[in-house]
């Protein structure tokens, strides 16, 4: 990634300019013929810049050169599953049959879309060992919220209003407690064991009549498989609570085990992680949820159902079925006004179709790559004599799709922090791994290579990681130096809030 040149390109430098980047046909009537209430007429147009099309194209191209994506280089960002996004997915999602359709069109005009929704619902149910799936939640966190809302209505329906508490391990993603709190639940956080795994004694100590659910991800945020998960499920189920599976790490186990087999009642899928929807700098995502039969009547409305077509419907059917929107009996209603992020669902459908029943190999390669990279880093570190500067974040023979390293020894002996190493990696042309999460590992670095990286990329990264560890502390404190800007002052940003272009007269 270049710096994009020393000259800055700022959109609002074109404020007051004469550029005209649009060409539009004339309106059907002149503005004077429009009947606008005088008190609602806009008095001053927005103070927007004016760019010609070439100026606009250059500005955004310049910006793009100052941004790092998977397409730019290796992106081992733990817990984010940054895999390659095949371009055919983008082609599929821009076909008029998805881009140019309206969710209020009648079912018979959308049979193709509904059939794909149905296929995705079925596939996701199979993969997770669930009975029913909704594609409506538009992000993982919204999936969590949706599922917890379903739990709430389920308990209300059963007259169990006293179930007000949701249990989360202290190593959980922040969205778990935030989502449950949004639905009105009280959060009970339980400590993890020293190795980061679930503490069954701590769980036993907090469950009771007031337990609504436990939310947990497996493999956990250290990349370790929770071997006691079935036992944890029993403990929660015995007191009448429900088990929620945070699907953020589903990429590690697909086809090898399933949330259903582990005893979960509900799961969200981060489609954008497990099935590849480009992250777009922070979104859009897609966070469907799957539930067991007892929770299916509470799912958001609508989901797709199918039946045999009538004679009249047969000529419009895309296969031997007729697809319809279906409202679950005790639905919680809507969590997004329409049918979720259909465009994201389509991209993930395309990714899934390229694997089909071989989806399991996707997870196997993700786990293989993670373990290989962990091994390669240790191998190269030993060869370079820097293996004393870090330790594994968890004592384990095999990790799952991601693993953690603690830079604690480097911090103690040389004053080099995990953040310093992260910034050093930026100078080597990599995206930095996730740092300081999970909190249970001191000076944590969380690395997730995904299944789409080659052995050569992993070998080179392992070598380069060790090269960074060989740099002196001062160099690393000053890193990065090759990036478009150097370390950004986040305290300055918070103390001198500048959230929009300041005009001269303000």
């Amino acid at each position: 990634m270049g710096k994009g040149g020393e000259r800055l390109s700022r959109l609002f430098d074109h404020y007051g300019a004469e550029g005209k980047g649009y060409s539009q046909p004339a309106a059907l009537l002149s503005a004077s013929e429009l009947n606008l209430p005088s008190n609602m007429a806009r008095k001053q147009l927005p103070r927007w810049p004016r760019l010609s099309e070439p100026e606009m194209v250059r500005h955004y191209t310049w910006l793009s050169k100052r941004n790092f994506g998977i397409d730019t280089g290796f992106y081992p960002l733990g817990s984010c599953t940054m895999k390659h996004n095949p371009r055919v997915n983008e082609v599929v999602a821009q076909l008029p049959g998805i881009a140019d359709i309206h969710p209020h069109q009648p079912e018979h005009q959308l049979q193709g879309l509904l059939s794909i929704y149905y296929e995705m619902q079925e596939m996701l149910a199979i993969c997770a060992g669930m009975d029913s799936v909704t594609l409506q939640p538009v992000a993982g966190a919204q999936g969590e919220f949706t599922a917890v809302r379903c739990f709430q209505e389920y308990f209300r329906h059963r007259g169990e209003h006293h179930r007000t508490k949701v249990i989360v391990p202290d190593s959980a993603h922040g969205t778990n407690p935030a989502s449950a709190a949004m639905a009105g639940f009280e959060i009970i956080e339980i400590p993890s064991q020293e190795d980061g795994r679930i503490d069954l004694a701590a769980l036993r100590a907090v469950v009771g009549d007031d337990t609504a659910a436990m939310m947990i991800t497996n493999p956990n945020t250290l990349g370790l498989f929770e071997q006691d998960i079935a036992e944890a499920s029993s403990i929660v189920h015995e007191v009448g609570g429900l088990m929620y599976y945070d699907g953020a790490n589903f990429n590690a186990i697909l086809g090898r085990t399933s949330p259903g087999l582990m005893g979960f009642d509900a799961v969200h899928y981060n489609l954008h992680k497990t099935f590849s929807q480009p992250h777009g700098g922070g979104g859009p995502g897609s966070g469907p949820i799957g539930v067991k039969e007892h929770l299916a009547p509470f799912l958001p409305s609508p989901i797709v159902d199918r039946r045999a077509p009538s004679d009249e419907e047969k000529n419009q059917a895309v296969d031997e079925y007729w697809y319809t929107w279906h409202t679950p009996e005790h639905t919680i209603g809507k969590v997004q006004q329409w049918h979720g992020n259909a465009g994201a669902v389509l991209r993930c459908w395309a990714y899934y179709r390229r694997y089909g029943k071989e989806l399991r190999t996707m997870s196997e390669h993700a786990v293989l790559n993670a373990n290989y990279l962990r091994h390669a880093i240790h191998r190269e570190a030993k060869a370079a004599g820097v293996d004393h500067l870090f330790v594994d974040g968890a004592d384990t023979i095999v990790a799952k799709h991601e693993f953690t390293l603690s830079l604690g020894p480097a911090k103690e002996s040389l004053g080099i922090s995990a953040m310093d190493v992260a910034k050093g990696l930026l100078d080597m042309g990599y995206m930095a791994p996730t740092v300081y999460f999970p909190l249970v590992v001191p000076e944590c670095m969380m690395i997730e290579p995904t299944e789409t990286e080659s052995k050569e990329t992993l070998d080179t990264f392992a070598k380069d990681f060790c090269k960074v560890l060989q740099l002196d502390a001062e160099t690393l404190h000053n890193a990065p130096t090759t990036t478009p800007v150097r370390r950004v002052d986040e305290v300055y940003a918070a103390r001198n809030l500048c959230l929009r272009h300041p005009f001269d007269d303000e």
């Binding site: 503005a31 140019d100 777009g280 800007v485």
Partner: protein
Amino acid sequence: MGVESIDALFADVPESVRMVNDLPLPDAQSEEELLADAKRLLGSNLALGDQPSFLGAGLYRNFVPSSVFQLVTRGEFLTSYTPYQPEVSQGMLQAMWEFQSLISELIAMPITNLSLYDGSTAAAEALTCAVRVHNRKAEQKDTVYISELTPPDRISVIHNYCQGAGIEIKMLRHDANGCINLEDVARAKGSCAVYVEQPNPLGIIDGGYPSLKEIIGEHTALIVGVQPVSLGLLEAPGHYGADIVIGEGQPLGSPITGGGPLYGIFGCTQPYLRLMPGRIVGRSIDVDGKEAYCLTLSTREQHIRRHRATSNICTNETLIALMGAMHMSLLGPEGLEHLAVRNMAACTQLKRQLATIDGLSFPYEQQSHFNEFVVELPATTSSCLTYLEGQDIVGGFDVSAWYPEKTNQMLLTVTDQTSQSDINHLVESLTKWAKEVSA
């Protein structure tokens, strides 16, 4: 690496929870086979561009310039993550800061975030945010008022978000002319928030809104939902007392895409800043004092504040917001104004021509409409839609889906994509249909 087989990598999965059989799924496909299937299945959907279309009701088919699609698929934007490492994310951070600046000007709010999921969740988050800010001093605790015209699907989203916080949602009445009843609004004084939309869900530009803030007072948030293109002609809510402005951003920069991904606009005034939802970009400096951008005010967010966060949002709609920023950059102020004029001109033209048809009437005829309006039909809307489909027209929205008693009302929508010949075709078809049903 000392591991003999793939199976050994999964030895830590206890036998009792192992999946023993292969997944019962079809064979893998090549890219060509996949594309062929996608084209066949999606090709069977009726794309709105293939026929004159008058369906809107919250999502609008506006033209998105070609350069937007070309630029947004640049891999550096498309395949990046949330900008946690600002040094290598300056492109998206600056683009989102510029997005905030553009939206801030559009809605006349000093503070905006870099998008929520869509207009409905933006409305819901605005209401819960207002309760966090105002509840302590509110006489009507945990209470918000929303327009009774709010579409039921949107109310459902609002309900799901509000019920966890124990918020009661009360409805504000409208007069027979489709405008909000200002006397009824007085009930909301002392509550935490009032939520209305402009234009309202019936397409009406409600001239009563400038009085709302004075009626409800400073301790009740005025939340206005907007259709962003309309703001090329309509006054920005920040200029008539709004405290929070939300909207469905889709008409600026994005196709409808079956209802998602979209992007939710969220802007507010200073008192809401530290309790608002979503990510915010701030302009800062790097260690050399060079201009630089980073995420700021993160202590509101779930990854830091956990169950005390102002929202659980993590993934948002950055890429779609980027499309919005690109579209706004091309339009400039005059381009936006012209876009708004085209919408309203097509709407006025359609209304004029429909007025010539016997049997059709306009329940809110005296009102001004931006790009959609309700027409009362001589028979059920569903029968009319079936007829129009036979004429290769995608008709309007059946209002009975919102208000079941309004079986004969249709909400007709135009956009900048509606041509004179589209209008003529609809008017001719409706003329024939009205004659047939009254015969």
